[in-house]
């Protein structure tokens, strides 16, 4: 029985925090679906919150968008390959992840290669690579599953059908990303702000660039199954942009953006539950979280503009 059944927006928080209190006091009870959602989303928020700032700083936000599209091709082709080789019997999650990783790698290679060897504009190269690979993925999905909507599911994920194993994967991923960023905080900072300075210090820009790509790919892949790549994009960019309005210190940004992401996922899940219990509307929780992230940014921007305005008036 889900303890959140029929709960409104504020009741949700009351139940949520009382259950956390119970958990602290040692009264364990099975995680409910809503808590798993909050958990997974928070973990995704953490992984994205630490990787996102660097992606935006290095102007790779649209590349993350590209990755999020091409992963579909990797997953479909690994699925086809696995079912062709082993008749689908040996097919499991790790095959999918390998396929996604290969696709992410190929995307990076193609995008860079088109710019370097074929002398294409960088933006055009990003656009050409991901649209064509994604189109290929969609055609394969349609041919194989006879259903084009698997592609839709891939893009948007399904937050409403998460299970505990997803939580475990997301938690591992969050820990991994946070650890790597914490370990290489300095070099990442130097590389993303001043690559020439990094060169004089003997820091390999290429290595950290690829490491960042790798982290972005793992975030996309890890979140693909649980929450969908769209949500990942929002989590990568949104909290960072919001936090950026209030702080310009990278260390603070790296703390603030995961926190904002976690807050957004809490509010999003509560809102989704509220709509379900009060209006009987089962909406896509992932989409609601994205909307909340967008709302955060708009509110923060308005708040800041008003504050600046008042500040100017005060001094005038």
């Amino acid at each position: 029985m889900n303890p959140y059944w029929g709960a409104g927006f504020f009741e949700f928080f009351a139940i949520f925090f009382s259950r956390i209190g119970q958990f602290m006091l040692g009264q364990f009870s099975a995680l409910s679906a809503d808590e798993v959602q909050v958990g997974v989303l928070s973990c995704v928020a953490i992984s994205c919150g630490v990787v996102g700032p660097f992606l935006v700083l290095k102007k790779m936000a649209m590349f993350a968008n590209s990755l999020s599209h091409t992963i579909l091709l990797g997953i479909v082709s690994s699925y086809l390959l696995a079912s062709f080789l082993w008749g689908g019997g040996m097919f499991d999650l790790s095959t999918l992840l390998m396929g996604a990783a290969v696709a992410a790698f190929l995307t990076a290679i193609f995008t860079e290669g088109f710019v370097r060897f074929l002398r294409l504009q960088e933006e055009a190269s990003v656009g050409l690579v991901f649209t064509s690979l994604f189109a290929l993925g969609i055609v394969l999905v349609t041919l194989y599953t006879r259903n084009v909507h698997l592609g839709v599911e891939a893009v948007m994920g399904n937050v409403d059908a998460l299970c505990f194993s997803d939580f475990r994967v997301a938690a591992w991923l969050a820990a991994f990303n946070a650890l790597l960023i914490a370990l290489f905080y300095r070099p990442f900072q130097i590389v993303s702000f001043d690559s020439n300075f990094a060169k004089t210090l003997g820091i390999s820009c290429g290595f950290f660039h690829s490491l960042l790509l790798f982290l972005a790919a793992t975030v996309c892949i890890g979140a693909f199954r649980s929450v969908g790549v769209l949500l990942v994009l929002a989590f990568l960019v949104g909290p960072y942009l919001t936090a950026r309005l209030f702080s310009s210190r990278l260390s603070r940004l790296l703390l603030l953006s995961p926190l904002l992401g976690i807050l957004a996922s809490l509010i999003g899940v509560a809102l989704s539950r509220h709509l379900l219990s009060v209006y009987d509307l089962p909406l896509s929780t992932g989409g609601i979280v994205v909307m909340v992230i967008g709302l955060f940014y708009v509110m923060a921007l308005f708040g800041k503009l008003c504050m600046c305005h008042r500040w100017e008036k005060f001094h005038a």
């Binding site: 936000a61 290929l136 592609g151 989409g287 609601i288």
Partner: protein
Amino acid sequence: MSFLDFFTDPVLRGPTWGTLLMCISSSLMGVVLFFKKRILLGESLSHATYPGVVAGVSFFAFFFPAHEEWTFVAVLGGAFISSLLGLKAIEWMEQKGKVRSDAALCFVLAVFFGIGTVGASAMQLAIPVWYQQVQILLFGQAATMSDSHIILYAVLSSAVVLFITCSFRPLQALLFDRDFAKSAGIPVLFLEKMVFWLLLFSIVLGIRSVGVVLMSGMVIAPVIAARQFTHQLRMVFFLSACFGALSGLLGNILSVIGSSYFSFQETLTLPTGPMIILVSASFALFSLLFAPHRGWIFRLSRMVFFRLRCLQENILKALWRNGSLSFLDLRKAHAISSFSFRLALFGLSQEGWIEKKGGLFSLTKDGIQKAESVVRLHRLWELYLARALGFEGDRIHRNAEEMEHILTPELERQLTVLLANPTADPHNQPIPQKERGL
């Protein structure tokens, strides 16, 4: 089903003409975006249409449930409004929020698509039949287009074509030098506004046949292909429209034929969008690789031939200096693979410049002349550097080592006149005369 049927058959002609017209307008607008270096704007704007599509279809479902054939008007209207909002949001973020353009694009894309997802999930239970219509628009389904679509599409894409032909000159000025255009009295702001309105039009038109998710590909790929073949803006526009039209046509035909080919057990409709994108992306890839002058293969082969010629000329010089040399002696001076070395030697003997006698290579009469001309260029350049530009020492030799391969007969003539037909270089080596041996 013959090829002409696609244009005349009452069922087939709708999708064919619709896709064709839509692809022309989006690939024309792609050219503008490409030269403004904002090509990914198309990606964000096409995703931003999604909430509008959802809202438009739901609006129609609630108020005019009986007139299903007119849904596309609501779809177009909703998509237009929401992508306009997306555009405004991007501009606003970039100007007011001081956000970098790629982050703004990515953020707007994600948030708008998120809003659309929420709306679609609300539709899924409330009005499932109409929900299917929205889902089709994600990846495009040209098959159900009718003649009324064609008329609308024709009007809108001829507006795009008309705008570009009428305002070609000012547009050109705007694309390449905005400040110049402004100072020349061109209404820059008005033109930019028009460009964005037409861009929105063409994207909104496109979502029917290419789909919300892939629409940006149709903006990007044709102009990439067109840019490879020409550097005249007029021709880029023209070629881009051609590539766009061709890929729209082929993609549509492939999707029709493919659908009937693969539907052996159950009906399967290949979505039109991905097919069109695949066709246009392969055009782009092909032109990136094989286009004359700018294509990769062309540039690569030019480089390889130049390197080979340099190597050959260096071999000739070495033989000219040393009389005859064995293969190993020749090879010692050049750090290059054995294969290309043999290739260079083979080329030289084919030209009749060198001959091999008892394991030793030596120059023929023609070869001597050729080698002397290379040496002459080298020493002329050395003299020019020393006398006219005041270079000294070792630098002139190294520079001349490169220039001897690049100097053309025309330049040689000019140098000869400039230096008053010299006979010795700065190192007091004789400069071989041009007409010797004739």
